[in-house]
């Protein structure tokens, strides 16, 4: 159920912003939660995204630039943007050369918030089970 909701949010983002080719949701320590990818390996993508987000946050702090908004990587064939989702997860968006990054950064905000809501609901269901287990 949770995964369906997350996939629906990822799919809606890809529909809404032209140029997005793949998306993935991962934990902050680099493990994939769910993905909407074609040829990209989600496990590798998740691990690299976590590393790049962590680095970017430290860079932003070091350079005195406040809270990191997104970590973006631009290549000759397109780009990758990584957004923090709360404190425990991250969203990766891969796009082709036509992807309008400014528009993506605006459009991803509501998606990030909605993902946070879904994840929080999932975790509040977990609380009881976790305590009982330990």
């Amino acid at each position: 159920m949770i995964e369906d909701a997350l996939l629906a949010l990822l799919g809606a983002l890809r529909d809404r912003v032209v140029g997005i080719t793949d998306t993935a949701l991962a934990s902050r320590d680099g493990l994939i939660i769910t993905s909407d990818t074609a040829d990209i390996d989600p496990d590798n993508l998740a691990a690299l995204a976590a590393a790049s987000l962590g680095l970017a946050q430290r860079m932003s702090a070091e350079a005195g630039k406040g809270t990191l908004r997104e970590a973006t990587t631009r290549g000759s064939g397109g780009c990758v943007a990584v957004y923090a989702v709360g404190t425990s997860a991250l969203l990766v968006v891969v796009g082709d050369e036509g992807l309008d990054l400014g528009r993506l950064h605006r459009e991803s905000r509501p998606t990030v918030e909605a993902i946070e809501v879904v994840l929080k609901r999932g975790q509040s269901g977990l609380g009881g089970a976790g305590m009982a287990a330990s």
């Binding site: 159920m1 949770i2 369906d4 909701a5 629906a8 949010l9 809606a12 529909d15 809404r16 032209v18 140029g19 080719t21 934990s27 902050r28 320590d29 680099g30 493990l31 994939i32 939660i33 074609a38 390996d41 989600p42 496990d43 590798n44 691990a47 690299l48 976590a50 590393a51 987000l53 962590g54 680095l55 946050q57 430290r58 000759s76 064939g77 709360g86 404190t87 425990s88 997860a89 082709d96 050369e97 036509g98 992807l99 309008d100 528009r103 605006r106 459009e107 509501p110 998606t111 909605a114 809501v117 879904v118 609901r121 999932g122 975790q123 509040s124 269901g125 977990l126 089970a129 976790g130």
Partner: protein, 322 residues
């Protein structure tokens, strides 16, 4: 292919005419006013029209590949050659002249390509939706401007022709909505040699629209759309999930509408009492990451190296959350 030009039911305006009329109006006003600057169009796909003395010099839009993508993705100009020309032209800003000087492309061919890119971009703008636009008299950055610039009338006439052709196809294709997958049994045997059908089939993974394939191939969206329509009619392609895009009244309205479908899914994911919810995956110190969904471990990345990179205190997160 399609019905003869101008063949249309008497008194029936084609459905694209509204958008084309609006574009025509704006461009004509700018031509009369000899505007040098940009028209910023917010919409789907939206874009930026670059003008010099009222004539069109370039159009940037997420909806169609620009000249750089057309040159590089098609392999017409190799990446290192482009990079060198781009760097060398940094001072003058004249990348086109530099490409020609380095004999990476002929002047005539470059001009033809720039015209084609302009026509393609205008086509996707006219086939799309406009939420609002603004005219800015500050010239924008333009890597490969068309020189001499062209007046809007040829562009608009060509766009009108293309829209009419697409509308008259027996099996219409929406270049930015329909996604395509290869039909079962569509193999190399039945394909037309040299037509590029194999590359299209290779790209048809159910996720790509004509626009997406155009970017991947470095070809025009209109041309790819025509080819997809033909391949669909020939039974080589089947439609995948259609792209769902909310209407464009305003930005805030747009976001609202786009979230509806997703919000329904969010609501349906309410955790009921007693339902076991798998925890977020957590990396355990010294443990190995389990590949999700049985994907083969490894691949081109050295997984062990990645794990070392992510250990706290290396280059990873600031704190262990939760």
């Amino acid at each position: 292919m399609g019905t003869p030009r101008g063949d249309r039911l008497a008194g029936e305006a084609p459905k694209w005419s509204g958008m084309l009329n609006r574009l025509s109006q704006v461009l004509t006003e700018c031509a009369t006013g000899k505007v040098s600057g940009v028209i910023r169009i917010a919409g789907e796909p939206g874009g930026t029209v670059h003008l010099a003395d009222g004539a069109v010099v370039a159009i940037d839009t997420p909806g169609a590949p620009g000249p750089e993508v057309l040159l590089l993705r098609s392999g017409r100009v190799p990446e290192p050659g482009w990079a060198a020309a781009f760097t060398a032209a940094a001072a003058s800003g004249e990348v086109g002249a530099e490409l020609v000087r380095r004999e990476l492309i002929g002047a005539g061919e470059l001009e033809a390509l720039l015209r084609m890119a302009l026509a393609d971009a205008m086509f996707v703008l006219a086939a799309g939706e406009l939420a609002e636009y603004e005219v800015d008299n500050t010239p924008g950055d333009c890597v490969l401007p068309l020189e001499p610039a062209i007046g809007p009338s040829w562009l608009l006439a060509e766009t009108s022709r293309r829209l009419a052709v697409l509308a008259s196809l027996p099996t219409p294709v929406e270049h930015d909505r329909d996604r395509w997958a290869s039909a079962r049994g569509a193999g190399p045997a039945g394909l037309a040699l040299g037509s590029g059908q194999e590359t299209i089939l290779a790209l048809a993974n159910g996720r790509r629209t004509a626009r997406d394939m155009a970017f991947a191939l470095g070809r025009g969206v209109y041309a790819v759309t025509l080819q997809l329509a033909q391949m669909h009619a020939d039974g080589l392609l089947v439609p995948g999930a259609r792209r769902v895009v909310p209407a464009q009244p305003s930005d805030s309205g747009h976001r609202q509408a786009g979230q509806d479908k997703a919000q329904d899914a969010v609501k349906s994911a309410d955790v009921t009492a007693g339902e076991q919810v798998p925890p977020l995956p957590r990396r355990r110190r010294g443990g190995t990451a389990q590949p999700r969904r049985g994907r083969p471990a490894g691949g081109p990345m050295d997984r062990a190296a990645l794990l070392r990179l992510l250990r706290p205190g290396a280059a990873g997160t600031d704190e262990d959350s939760m």
